[in-house]
């Protein structure tokens, strides 16, 4: 059980964490999310007593970290896989930690076996790959068999087998009744691992809820409806009927309809009443990534932009269109379709716009209002010598 109350940390005039209060409960994996520089690592360091909070306090099982009787037997942490002396062998590194907290030395070989490093235990950790370093860090966290575990980006640099192992390890640890607190940027991984989410942005709490609630609060669930391609008038008819019944319809690129505001059976009934055949009627829930992007897009400190290569690029031949930017580059809002509930503008009619990766909707060029951070879509035109970006279908235009 980790409990933070009004946690605040200032470095000079920069506030890294402001008035953060949350609880991390045992028996569940709690994900800790936030953009780069949002204060995740600072919070973890304060939990572990490495940084002193400017205000507020944080306790583990009711004690501040430095008042815990034998803290490493209560709390295990992986903060940074590189936080080892590279000249020391893995076994000696763990042995020194075990001795420091009064853990029997044979436990060292046990955890080396658990993380699969027993064959390289005698090698100096300087030569370890990132994934091996992560395993060594996880071994150090497990050394004291603690009831509270903190992991900062545990799957960084791990191979797929390692990622699966970490995922199962977290779940198994939580199932034993331990408190597991994990920060990560890999949304797909979090969606599979975490039961509960704590999201911070710019050092402040943005959400503290279960993964399921988080997704449904921060994205629109919708139904995809497809009418026969050969009969566009059926599509028009159904759209009108759904709008009349109080639903919202967004046409998708490939001719399907995205319907919100009506339950699936009601859509089916409407289609039946209006004598429209359906090829598809399927429920869709947004991914954790979409929900996360929508929530944090206002709290991102470090944002990528399109590489303009100003003045370094040959003039485009007259009459050619500058290429569209690849979705996601310099316009972070592409992840988040405008919420239909707020009467957001429909997507631009299907055009030559490239489809985003992951089958996400195309760049919402027609919805700048929904995303104040997105670049204006005219940006490439205003810089005619802009780079032919890596967009494959358009690259021949740029030549």
């Amino acid at each position: 059980m980790i409990e933070a109350v009004g946690l605040t940390k200032r470095y000079g005039d920069k506030t890294a964490v402001y008035n953060l209060s949350f609880q991390v409960r045992p028996g569940a994996v709690t994900g800790f999310l936030g953009p780069n520089g949002s204060g995740k690592s600072t919070t973890m360091r304060m939990i572990l007593g490495l940084d002193n909070p400017t205000a507020g306090h944080v306790t583990i099982c009711g004690h501040p970290y430095d008042k815990l009787p034998n803290a490493p037997r209560q709390v295990g942490a992986l903060l940074d896989a590189k936080a080892v002396h590279g000249g020391r062998s893995a076994r000696n590194h763990l042995l020194s930690l075990a001795q420091l907290s009064g853990i029997p030395a044979r436990r060292v070989d046990e955890v080396l076996g658990v993380v699969g490093l027993h064959e390289v235990a005698g090698r100096r950790s300087k030569g370890f790959s990132l994934g091996m370093g992560q395993r060594l860090g996880i071994a150090a966290a497990l050394l004291g068999d603690p009831q509270v575990l903190l992991f900062d980006e545990p799957v960084n640099g791990l191979d797929p087998e390692g990622i699966l192992w970490v995922r199962n390890l977290m779940k198994a640890l939580a199932a034993e009744g331990r408190t597991v607190f994990v920060s990560s940027h890999l949304m797909s991984e979090m969606a599979l691992t975490a039961d509960h989410l704590i999201v911070i942005g710019r050092g402040q709490l943005m959400a503290d809820m279960s993964v399921r609630d988080f997704i449904s609060h921060n994205s629109a669930d919708f139904a995809r409806v497809r009418t026969p391609d050969s009969e566009p008038q059926q599509r028009e008819k159904l759209s009108a009927a759904i709008t009349e019944a109080g639903g919202h319809v967004l046409p998708e690129q490939d001719g399907a309809l995205r319907v919100t505001g009506l339950p699936l059976p009601r859509i089916s009934d409407l289609a039946h009443d209006h004598d429209v055949r359906l090829w598809e009627l399927s429920p869709h829930q947004a991914s954790l990534e979409e929900a996360y992007m929508r929530m944090t897009q206002g709290a991102v400190d470090y944002r990528s932009t399109v590489d303009q290569k100003e003045g370094l690029q040959q003039q485009l031949p007259p009459g050619t269109q500058p290429p569209m930017p690849v979705p996601g580059q310099g316009q972070p809002g592409w992840y988040a379709p405008p919420p239909p509930q707020q009467g957001g503008q429909p997507f631009a009619p299907p055009q030559a716009a490239p489809a985003g990766p992951y089958g996400a909707p195309p760049a919402p060029a027609a919805a700048p209002a929904a995303n104040p951070y997105a670049q204006p879509p005219q940006a490439p035109q205003s810089a005619p010598q802009s780079a032919p970006s890596a967009e494959p279908t358009k690259s021949e235009d740029a030549r």
């Binding site: 002193n52 099982c61 009787p69 034998n70 000249g87 020391r88 042995l95 930690l97 009064g102 004291g144």
Partner: protein, 297 residues
């Protein structure tokens, strides 16, 4: 620790005395908790000492710096002894122990380096965060580091100084060298070894304050050499007092006092250098303790 303990809900917690500042009535946990089958022990300085001993013996920098120290002290001692013995000199009643001074002066650089690395390398690699998570009582870690380093440095220097002393005495027998007295032996081996181990401990404290290996080593080497170099360039007669003091209290001169061949007749004498270095190392360690407690890791 005889105060009655409030009943703790966790079985493992019952073994611990109530931590100061803990809520006296812990609410019963509404959630399942995990209890480790490995027995929980109360940690103390002994655990930290074992850990620091493992750390200092398991990195190559220790072997390198101590190896160079032994090579310098014994090698230079052997060379000077052989050269002087071959020249068929008249030592004029001097103690042959004083020839060990040159090797130890150079060897002190190795102790400075090792002392700084013992603390500062943990900051350079980030290991300090792992250490401090494993032992939240930061003072205990620094105390263990200082103790382990001091003992290692003292033992190694003592062995080297004794070997070189015996070597010189046996090589230079019969060249009108005086037989060293018991007091001279004590000062020339134990005294100078204590002094150098304390110099290394001062470096360790500086390393903990500066948190940067190269920076701390530079500061310490400057501390050893700068007073002599600065004094060399003080030509003005008005500064002669300062010049004299810089010569007398420079670390090489303080070391030579253990062999009773100081650069001057005034200034520290006898065992004074040891007390000076003890106070300096103690003050630096005190500052390191205070900063360690105050600063973020």
């Amino acid at each position: 620790m005889s105060t009655p303990q409030p009943p703790m809900p966790q079985s493992a917690a019952a073994e611990w005395p109530a931590a100061p500042g803990a809520a006296p009535s812990a609410p019963a946990p509404a959630y399942p908790t995990y209890t480790s089958p490995i027995p929980v022990v109360r940690t103390h300085l002994g655990h930290a000492l074992a850990s620091e001993w493992t750390k200092i013996r398991s990195v190559r920098s220790t072997m390198w710096t101590l190896g160079v120290l032994v090579a310098l002290v014994v090698g230079i001692g052997l060379l000077t002894g052989l050269v002087i013995a071959n020249a068929d000199p008249d030592l004029g009643g001097e103690s042959p122990l004083s020839l060990g001074f040159f090797g130890l002066l150079l060897g002190s650089m190795c102790l400075i380096t090792l002392g700084v690395l013992t603390t500062a390398s943990e900051y350079g690699t980030g290991m300090i965060r792992t250490t401090m998570v494993a032992c939240p009582s930061r003072g205990r870690v620094l105390a263990a580091k200082a103790l382990v380093f001091f003992l290692v440095a003292f033992v190694v220097t003592l062995v080297c100084a004794s070997v070189v002393g015996l070597l010189h005495v046996s090589l230079l027998e019969g060249y009108n060298a005086s037989e060293p007295t018991g007091g001279e032996w004590l000062k020339g081996t134990v005294g100078v070894s204590l002094y150098l181990a304390l110099l290394g401990t001062l470096s360790l404290a500086v390393g903990s304050i500066v948190r940067h290996s190269a920076g701390a080593i530079t500061i310490m080497i400057a501390l050893v050499l700068a007073p002599l170099v600065i004094a060399l360039f003080m030509f003005s007669p008005s500064l002669s007092d300062v010049q004299q003091a810089l010569f007398e209290y420079s670390i090489p001169n303080q070391m030579s006092i253990f062999y009773a061949n100081s650069l001057s007749e005034s200034g520290p004498s006898g065992w004074d250098p040891l007390w000076i270095m003890l106070v300096a190392a103690g003050a630096a360690l005190g500052a390191a303790f205070a900063l360690l407690r105050k600063r973020d890791v």
